[in-house]
């Protein structure tokens, strides 16, 4: 029987792990009729007889050892050092719409800051009536605490794919996204305490890590829906997600969600920091670049089947995926099995929230024929996720960021699934 968690990425391993090298379609399915009684039923298993571990064997629990391959992974050749690098959420192995904290992708520019919360300070200054300093305790005493579920997508998600299919796995092509619950207070309520001056138009947010990341944020956005968050999925933020406190900028590119947040400065112009000039500007075919491209456009991807989660059985199968939009709620997701010739509307399951990841399903019967699987998201503003070629027609192939084109997975007759581009 094939252990799904062991499913490898490349062809060689696929064939051996799935036992397909010589055979036809091997399956993990029970045969439709049993010749022999199943030992999984007739034998008394160890776990049926002997006592398991007691409480407190794992004061902070972790997943079953059989899930050990469900982990974040990186692509080492992408960057020169792991302190300034990225890894990817294993989307192919997850379901629902909340990303487990330990699987949420990481992107750091100077490693993970190790901050003692008792020594952490958040300063507000610049064009304010009263510059203020807050401790973590101060922040947690603010009235108006909020809990919100939002996606965070790196603007460079799918950035490797502009020139064509490159990475074989939705973990790598789409895994710079996570969707978690945040606990905190509105940025607005902090700014109200400091008193923003009339000529303030922009806010600089700065992290306390070794890169001292800075981004300029329009004041309107800061007052609208940004959150100063210390909680994630009901517990403290993970260190790699900005412990003890980060900025949440709903619907906008992940780089702006400053982690290890220590400073907010009000000003009348953007600062033109490195991450809004050298990086996170979108170079177009004519050599000019768009800047301040904050919003993440509607996007979706089929997570099952996908290269790391091939089809293993003929007959009933569940096609599943995720959709999201920085402009609001997901309105509809369509799925095609023939490379975009014909579409059917998927079922959205679970809460459909503004600027939050939405889960979709299509139940289908697979007869073993080749499939070209695609999904196409639509949001409440009427935006329809474009094809990759439609995007390239407007932007060329040099922009790195904001690649939200429709993804195609080629399911071979043996169930093996591959990242492809199609006509």
């Amino acid at each position: 029987m094939v252990d799904r968690a062991e499913t490898p990425l490349n062809r060689r391993r696929f064939l051996s792990a799935a036992g397909l090298a010589g055979a036809g379609l091997a399956t993990g399915a029970l045969p439709s009729r049993a010749a022999e009684p199943d030992a999984a039923i007739t034998d008394v298993q160890d776990w049926n007889r002997y006592l398991g571990e007691g409480v407190q064997a794992h004061p902070y629990g972790s997943p079953s050892k059989y899930e050990k391959n469900v982990v974040r992974r990186d692509v080492e050749w992408l960057t020169a050092s792991r302190e300034s690098s990225v890894n990817f959420t294993p989307l192919h192995a997850l379901d629902g719409n909340v990303t487990p904290s330990g699987l949420a992708f990481e992107r750091h520019h100077g490693g993970i800051a190790d901050i003692d919360p008792a020594k952490h300070r958040l300063m507000i200054h610049g064009l304010v009536d009263k510059p203020l300093v807050f401790t973590m305790d101060d922040l947690k005493r603010f009235p108006g605490r909020v809990h919100k579920l939002y996606f965070l997508e790196c603007a460079a998600n799918s950035g490797m794919e502009w020139r064509g299919a490159q990475l074989n796995g939705c973990q790598f092509t789409h895994g710079m996204i996570h969707n978690v619950w945040y606990t905190g207070v509105s940025l607005r309520s902090l700014l109200e305490q400091a008193g923003v001056k009339t000529n303030a138009k922009w806010l600089l947010a700065e992290g306390g890590d070794a890169s001292m990341m800075t981004r300029s944020i329009p004041l309107q956005k800061a007052l609208d829906d940004c959150i100063i968050a210390w909680g994630m999925n009901g517990e403290a933020l993970r260190p790699e997600q900005g412990y003890p406190v980060r900025l949440v900028v709903p619907g906008w590119e992940g780089n702006m969600w400053i982690k290890w947040l220590r400073r907010l400065e009000l000003g009348d112009e953007p600062w033109q920091a490195r991450e809004e000039t050298s990086k996170y500007t979108d170079l177009l075919a004519d050599g000019r670049s768009r800047r301040f491209t904050y919003i993440m456009d509607a996007k979706s991807v089929v997570t099952n089947p996908s290269p790391q989660a091939p089809l293993l059985h003929k007959g009933p199968n569940v096609l599943s995926g995720i959709a999201w939009s920085g402009r609001g709620r997901i309105e509809r997701v369509d799925v095609s099995l023939d490379g975009g010739r014909n579409w059917r509307t998927a079922r959205l399951e679970g809460p459909v929230l503004s600027r939050s990841m939405t889960r979709f399903y299509v139940d289908f019967d697979w007869d073993g024929r080749e499939l070209l699987v695609q999904s196409r998201a639509m949001d409440e503003t009427g935006y329809v996720q474009p094809t990759k070629n439609e995007l390239r027609a407007v932007r060329g192939v040099n922009s790195i960021y904001h690649n939200n084109g429709v993804q195609t997975w080629f399911v071979h007759k043996n169930g093996e699934t591959e990242n492809v581009e199609i006509s």
């Binding site: 300034s84 100077g110 807050f134 109200e192 800075t214 050599g287 579409w343 935006y383 407007v394």
Partner: protein
């Protein structure tokens, strides 16, 4: 100040935010949408909460090291190309290469002029960055990698002057200072414009996307990730070939 930036600032002041944020704002439910009047001055907080304490001037000075294109935030100081070369060779070249060409996969800092339209654009502070202040601000706060904030202001002026020289923007005898900083213009300053997706990409707001027989021919595979085979292996870790 750039005209486009000014326009953006005015739009913000009016709470219009068009066109960059227009759609997103319109789609908000009224309860989420702050009244336009609050875009500038916030009404004094209804309740002064007595949370936090006033920041002391010395504390603000210790943290407020950001520098803007107009030079706001620059400390007094100066440094020459020659001084910068010595500092660069000692503290930067191991990663960024003697001439800014980048060692291994570390970032390239010089060259790339005229490459932005090519198949292989090289985006450096000479070829791509719009403002000089960005390099001063970034180097002073974050470089050398792993030992940020270790350069003095004079050393930072010098190393920035050297990078300008490597990028053929100033001569060898140049000295950069707080006083002449704003006079240095980078070649690609005019190469940026504000996000215009909502107008330039209006076609993506389609009324009724096609559902049946949307392509005349069956779709054909035109490119395959497997042909490139750069995906890391799940068990043995990334394979770099």
């Amino acid at each position: 100040m750039l005209k486009s930036r000014k326009t953006a600032a005015i739009a913000l002041a009016l709470g219009l935010l068009a066109p960059v944020f227009g759609l997103a704002q319109q789609q908000r439910t009224p309860a989420q949408n702050p009244p336009a009047a609050t875009a500038g001055k916030l009404a004094p907080a209804r309740v002064q909460l007595n949370l936090g304490r006033p920041a002391l001037p010395q504390e603000i000075a210790a943290w407020d090291i950001d520098v803007r294109p107009d030079g706001l935030g620059l400390p007094p100081g100066k440094g020459s190309v020659k001084q910068g070369e010595d500092i660069y060779l000692e503290r930067c070249a191991a990663c960024h290469g003697e001439f800014g060409e980048g060692a291994g996969r570390w970032p390239v800092l010089a060259g790339g002029a005229g490459s932005l339209k090519s198949d292989n654009p090289e985006k450096t502070l000479g070829s791509f960055w719009p403002y000089l202040s960005t390099s001063w601000d970034y180097i002073y706060r974050a470089m050398p990698f792993g030992n940020g904030q270790s350069l003095t202001p004079d050393e930072t002026y010098a190393v920035v002057a050297y990078l300008l020289n490597l990028n053929d923007i100033v001569k060898e005898d140049f000295e950069l200072s707080k006083e002449n900083f704003a006079s240095v213009k980078l070649p690609n300053v005019g190469g940026f414009y504000d996000d215009d997706r909502e107008t330039a990409e209006k076609v993506f707001w389609k009324k009724n996307p096609c559902m049946k027989n949307c392509k005349p021919e069956p779709a054909k595979v035109t490119g395959r990730a497997r042909a490139i085979d750069v995906t890391p292996d799940s068990k043995t870790g990334p394979r770099v070939e």
